[in-house]
């Protein structure tokens, strides 16, 4: 179907100021991705998939400015024994990054690989993004594949003990960063990836993860506390037999965030857990969009999303479980809940199931409401002041999502940050 003229114009306007990075094997992948963008057009408000989130500022030619924000606390994963890779406004900072090497691990920068003969990466870059364009189009991910200026290509061949920490700093009010990472775990390998920081005034990030049979990828990310940044992120993960993929995201403010997570369970007995906690105060729009495809027998998927919203904040959840005809014995679970701390905030959800196999147990639940007055009364009658009691209940509400993090220490770090946020944003 021909694209509406308005969409063509918006897409052309965005592409006009962009140069396709040249050179080496990625050039072809980038050209293909650009063709995809042009065929689909960039998202607009009238697209069903963007019904609840206005993509205008994510696709505008001009970058919306974001004031710098000093959180006055140590960066998120400081103190964790890790391999640090730092990007400032999307530009790699070699001085502050560790050596890009480790046991069972090779890491290359996308910006450097043009002339390296990196076989595995050639077959990987952009492939999951391309596959993820159906049945729903994700043009901003294709835009990323075409124009990403940097990113890391991580190849894992065994159990890696130290987490790889991708740190994204924001230093210019009008920075527009596009990063694209590819992670490939060979059979039986394991890795934890940590991500933190606001990244830029506007951030478009794609992470493609190939998790082979028996491999395990853990992913924990926090998206910074910068109040004005905008971000659109896509995480594509393809899972082999008996592999696991677990991801958790904490979002505390930020003007606009759209996090998409697309998972394919392609091998029997794969496990995928996608979780998120978000807290928003004021001018905050947070959108979690998840699409999990079960295409093998005996797989398990879980989606757990919790949102706390106040002062006109908006929370969006679009989650889908697609069970293909032969994916028998699927166990699919999805829960999305929001706690609205005042009357101005809103929660918009579209939890979908599409099921073509009969021997499955799939369920989803979604709730929205205010804090439980009775529980509040109970705490207050026992001498807990109103503010603290509210925080306590709010934290307990978010706790169910944080519990999805396997590593207890990391989980506690997240809880601490949430506590701090709630205290600062108390009425």
């Amino acid at each position: 179907m021909a694209l509406p003229q308005a969409k063509i114009d918006a897409t052309d306007a965005r592409l006009a100021g962009m140069d396709l990075p040249q050179g080496g094997w990625p050039a072809e992948c980038r050209a293909d991705a650009l063709a995809r963008v042009q065929a689909m057009g960039l998202p607009g408000r009238r697209d069903e998939y963007w019904k609840y989130t206005n993509p205008e500022t994510l696709i505008s030619a001009e970058v919306p400015q974001a004031a710098l924000f000093d959180p006055q606390e140590p960066a998120m994963f400081d103190g964790v024994d890790r391999l640090k890779i730092v990007f400032v406004d999307g530009v790699f900072d070699a001085d502050r990054s560790d050596d890009l090497s480790g046991e069972h691990l090779t890491i290359d920068r996308l910006a450097d690989v043009a002339n390296l003969d990196l076989h595995w990466a050639k077959d990987a870059y952009g492939t999951l993004e391309a596959k993820g364009q159906s049945p729903v189009q994700r043009p901003l991910a294709a835009l990323n594949t075409a124009f990403a200026t940097d990113g890391v290509l991580i190849h894992v061949t065994g159990a890696v003990s130290k987490p790889v920490n991708l740190i994204y700093e924001h230093s210019a009010v009008n920075s527009d960063a596009i990063l694209h990472h590819v992670v490939k775990l060979e059979a039986g390998a394991s890795l934890t990836i940590l991500e933190n920081g606001p990244a830029a005034a506007r951030f478009n990030k794609v992470l493609e993860a190939f998790v082979a049979d028996g491999a395990a990828l853990n992913h924990i990310r926090t998206q910074g506390r910068d109040h004005e940044r905008r971000a659109v992120t896509h995480m594509f993960a393809e899972l082999g037999a008996e592999s696991t993929f677990k991801t958790f995201t904490l979002t505390a403010n930020g003007v606009l965030t759209r996090n998409e997570c697309i998972v394919w369970l392609n091998g029997d007995e794969g496990v995928a857990h996608v979780a998120g906690a978000c807290v928003g105060d004021g001018d905050f729009h947070h959108d979690d969009t998840v699409f999990i495809t079960h295409d093998a027998v005996n797989c398990e998927s879980r989606q757990v999303f919790k949102k706390v919203l106040r002062n006109g904040a908006t929370g969006v959840f679009q989650g889908k479980i697609l069970v293909k005809p032969d994916a028998q014995k699927t166990d699919g679970y999805q829960i999305s809940q929001s706690l609205l701390l005042d009357d101005d905030s809103q929660f918009l959800a579209k939890p979908e199931l599409e099921i073509y196999a009969d021997d499955v147990a799939c369920s989803h639940g979604s709730t929205s409401g205010a804090i439980d007055e009775e529980a509040l009364y109970y705490l207050r009658s026992r001498g807990v002041p109103q503010g603290e009691a509210t925080d306590l209940l709010t934290l307990a509400f978010l706790g169910e999502a944080v519990d999805e993090i396997e590593d207890r220490d990391l989980g506690e770090m997240i809880v601490e940050r949430l506590q701090g946020w709630l205290t600062r944003h108390r009425r």
Binding site: F347, A349, P351, S366
Partner: protein
Amino acid sequence: MAALDNVEVKEGVDQETVDAVREVSTYKYGWETEIEMEYAPKGVNPDIVRLISEKNNEPEWMTEWRLSAFERWEKMTEPKWAMVNYPEIDFQDQYYYARPKSMVEKPKSLDEVDPKLLATYEKLGIPLKEQMILAGVEGAEDMPAEGRKVAVDAVFDSVSVGTTFQEELKKAGVIFCSISEAIREHPELVKKYLGSVVPVSDNYYATLNSAVFSDGSFVYIPPNTRCPMELSTYFRINAENTGQFERTLIIADKGSYVSYLEGCTAPQRDTAQLHAAVVEIIVEEDAEVKYSTVQNWFPGDENGKGGIYNFVTKRADCRGDRSKVMWTQVETGSAVTWKYPSCILRGNESQGEFYSIAIANNHQQADTGTKMVHLGKNTKSRIVSKGISAGVAQNTYRGLVSMHPKAKNSRNYTQCDSLLIGDKCGAHTVPYIEVKNNSSRVEHEATTSKVDDEQLFYCRQRGMDEEEAVALVVNGFCKDVLQALPMEFAMEAQQLVAISLEGSVG
């Protein structure tokens, strides 16, 4: 039966049982009444719209209303978002008006109605006689005489054949007649309410309906009146290549109550037929309307040939405070269903309820659900939807729950469960939840599962055959909804659930 050929015979079911099932004709209303018909020329254009209006002896304002709807419809495009697939409909290749020749001069009373038409309804189990009878229930004649009265408006293709108990209803102040009669006799009411709940340009099929609707029922319940009997409309499509576009308008004035039933069937044919209805319900202060449907249009044969395309817009507007509406539907028929009975909860403390069983077997496709739009304070809604898929059918629940900022302290509870029988079918859930204030609570739950083997085993152990066992388990699954139906419908629905699933177990 194709659906059976594709399914492996399970252990414990002998081939004989499968063959026996194969023999059973599953759609018992597939016969046709041979009667002389009068048609408008094929296709739709302003002349046809004028012709329909003329046939109904409508006043000028109605003709204009239709024509402006037609003008808008021409500029619209068919919606494609539903999870259904069907060949392109040629809107010019069908009849928009068909009536039995004997109905050209409208009979003055039921005694004058063509006996063939009366026999048709008799055969359908809807006798057009003013007698105490539980419509549609076999053996009801033998039941004690305290059976409730049901007034019936019978619509045959494009016209209303007759309406029973009109005199008795008139005594209570209730108006129950065909919409064409209402346009002539009660223009002030029709003018005030028609199109006020489903605007002319609401959607593609509603707009088409506004232009070409031929007949349907009109109900007005005056203030503080409890309608003395249940009202029902029975829609029968008989003519070939004919679309049925009925229009129903129900107005429950302050403090009134009415229970309204709707039934529909059509003959078995190879070509698909279009049915695009609009139902509007206005519920004033303290009034209550119960609207129950057993939709049993011809679903197409087991190879997906023929059947009715059921594209229906139904909406209730709870305008007054403390008004209440309850939709109950059992959807077993139609090749393709596209239907979302909705509630606009405008009045404070108004309530909307939606109970649905949608069964799709063989090649049927159903995309159905509801919209609950909460606008008033302290409004409540409840959605219970049970979808059952068998054969190679696709069944989708699509719904919206919206809490507007002003709808303080409102409440919604949604439960949608899907049951899959066989591994070739699909069950889908597409709910939209929009909450814009924090004093309201919204809860949504959905599950999808298959018929529990243990439950089946238990039933079979006690001597039931597989078909019976599945029917029992499925009836248990649907219990919440069946209980919400008026009694005579509940019994029919229970049987329908069993019939629709015949041949789905192998």
